[in-house]
Symmetry: C2
Subunit: 358 residues, 2 copies
């Protein structure tokens, strides 16, 4: 085991006082070169490492740590959406010499209102909330307290909490326009609505669709859980309800993968019969079959930017922050013009093998 060596040990070993050692270690200029050298060397030799707790205590100061709070889902870390955000957060925290600590908003966490305690107990200098949903009503508490807190790629409508998020309205519009431009007139949308940014996205999408001349009643909206399984079922149902559907838009790449899988199973060819589009641009989406057309939310950048803004708040104090970041269309193989028969405005009889609902 590593025996703990303290400043006192160094001082004794060198025959100097505690404060001399302290001064050397804090790079004070008013220390003679020989003493400095001797002390440094002894530290090296004995493997001295300051006790962080003592240091933080004496500095009555920050632990130079940011906390990321994740929802308490057992599989939260294996979600690449979260991962991308974390990539950015870590990179930026690192650059600024900050540690980051990831916590989950378990029921215990919420009961004890740990988000406050983290700050009070000096375990964190600031808090980043990632992937929080509209259900996370505890966030409302954060409003007003002027606490160094920031939401990463989410928005909380009921409270004035800082955020950095992708411009989801732009994303929704962009997706709608892309599909409309290709000629799609019957689209199905698979979405989750438990997150404000999603709500914004689909609202903008709906409007844009109408603006582009797609009659509102030709669009089917399927609302449900944010995973592949729901998406699979939703895809099937959309094609049953309206066999004329030539495009399915999902509000996440993860769901798009589910749709793709379902269509593959059902023998529906993508993009020849049906186009599929996602939102997020996860790394894996480029390697789906076919490669997925999507809107790049630049999640890593959002994480990075969020961390930057939070750090500014931590260091310089109170500041509002409501930053919407640009998004971009990534066109790949999963979208194409609708099949000829479908492209016409008049509802052509569908030549598809999907069986109708009994």
């Amino acid at each position: 085991m590593l025996r703990t060596v303290t400043m006192k040990d160094i001082a004794e070993e060198c025959g100097v006082s505690l404060s001399t050692v302290s001064l050397v270690l804090s790079h004070s200029p008013r220390i003679s070169e020989p003493t400095r050298k001797q002390v440094m060397e002894t530290c090296e030799r004995l493997g001295y490492q300051p006790n962080t707790h003592a240091q933080n205590l004496a500095l009555r100061a920050s632990s130079r740590t940011l906390c990321v709070v994740l929802p308490d889902l057992t599989d939260i870390f294996s979600d690449p959406y979260v991962g991308l955000l974390l990539n950015g957060i870590y990179a930026t925290a690192d650059e600024h010499g900050y540690q980051v600590s990831i916590l989950r908003a378990t029921s215990r966490f919420l009961r004890k209102r740990e988000h406050f305690n983290l700050l009070k107990s000096h375990r964190a200098d600031g808090l980043l909330f990632v992937a929080s949903s509209l259900y996370d009503q505890y966030l409302v508490d954060l409003d007003g307290h002027n606490i160094p807190v920031l939401l990463v790629n989410s928005i909380f409508p009921d409270a004035a909490i800082r955020y950095v998020a992708a411009d989801h309205k732009a994303a929704g519009r962009m997706a709608a326009e892309h599909l409309a431009r290709l000629g799609h007139r019957h689209v199905g949308v698979v979405m989750g609505t438990n997150i404000q940014t999603q709500v914004d996205l689909i609202e903008a999408c709906g409007e844009a669709l109408v603006d582009c001349g797609v009659p509102a009643d030709q669009t089917i909206w399927m609302d449900g859980r944010f995973n592949e399984d729901f998406a699979r079922k939703a895809a099937r149902q959309i094609l049953q309800e309206n066999p004329c559907t030539t495009a399915i838009l999902t509000t996440s790449d993860k769901m798009a993968a589910g749709v793709l899988a379902d269509l593959h199973e059902a023998g529906v060819s993508v993009p020849n019969q049906v186009s599929v589009m996602g939102i997020d641009n996860l790394p894996a989406s480029a390697h789906l079959c076919p490669a997925l057309t999507t809107i790049d939310l630049h999640l890593t950048q959002i994480g990075s930017r969020a961390c930057e803004r939070l750090l500014a708040i931590v260091k310089e104090g109170e500041k509002p922050c409501e930053e919407l970041r640009p998004v971009h269309l990534v066109e790949r193989a999963s979208t194409a013009p609708p099949p000829a028969a479908m492209a016409t405005k008049k509802k052509a009889p569908a030549a598809r093998k999907k069986k109708k609902k009994p």
Copy 2:
């Protein structure tokens, strides 16, 4: 901002001494009920929260924190492989009331040998290394020091470091046997060899293939980087080198996704013309087209188990740990018997459109 309230504040407010407050908070039985109540209530009212640094310092003790060290790859968090391991680690740490802190082995980290410092500075009670490769020679240092360290799903051949890992040899054997059982006689293997467990896996796989009657010279081995892009190229090359190939095994699901994408692009039907198989069983693999046959390494469980073992070491001291965990075949749609023409032992002339290597 939150004003810091200390034990002293509570003591004064209640008109008792500091130590009384301390005793109350540590649930000492020798405190009168009225005092206890009064103190507790005041803590509640004033929102008292102990200063962790002071506490840790006084306890000259653990910070009840485990550190996870990840390789310094910018996209490390969005890798679901890592995510699954983290899921397990976090769940278990939580259960035991431990925090976890994730660090990246940046060059600065290595230069300063932070893995030692984390322990010395009491920022961590134990260390978990995740996704480390054979290149991470700094791990060799860990040997001998009897430090609370454990490798998660990796093995380091040059040093005696504790580990909990999937039984990769079993996985290799299982995969080989599955393909052989289906009747495949010409298989291509796409692999990475910068990780000991991978080396073990492919060795076992190669032996099993031969044992099952697949002549060694009918197997093509492609070694390279651990990502989709390499896998895509490798797949193409395998089919060029041996158009008789009826099955491609990759040593990770991620690479399998790349192979699937490449075959899709090349118009090769999976599993009708070529079977594809992965290793890991990532959540997304069930939603690939077609759904991927793979070996489940139970990564979440490995993370969980690794954390458990480390915790035992932290609490009870030195213990060796070399634990190999069972793995299981997950049969899905991407594997099937080879096409009839290929199944015969005699090399039938290939009726495939892939062009031969010149």
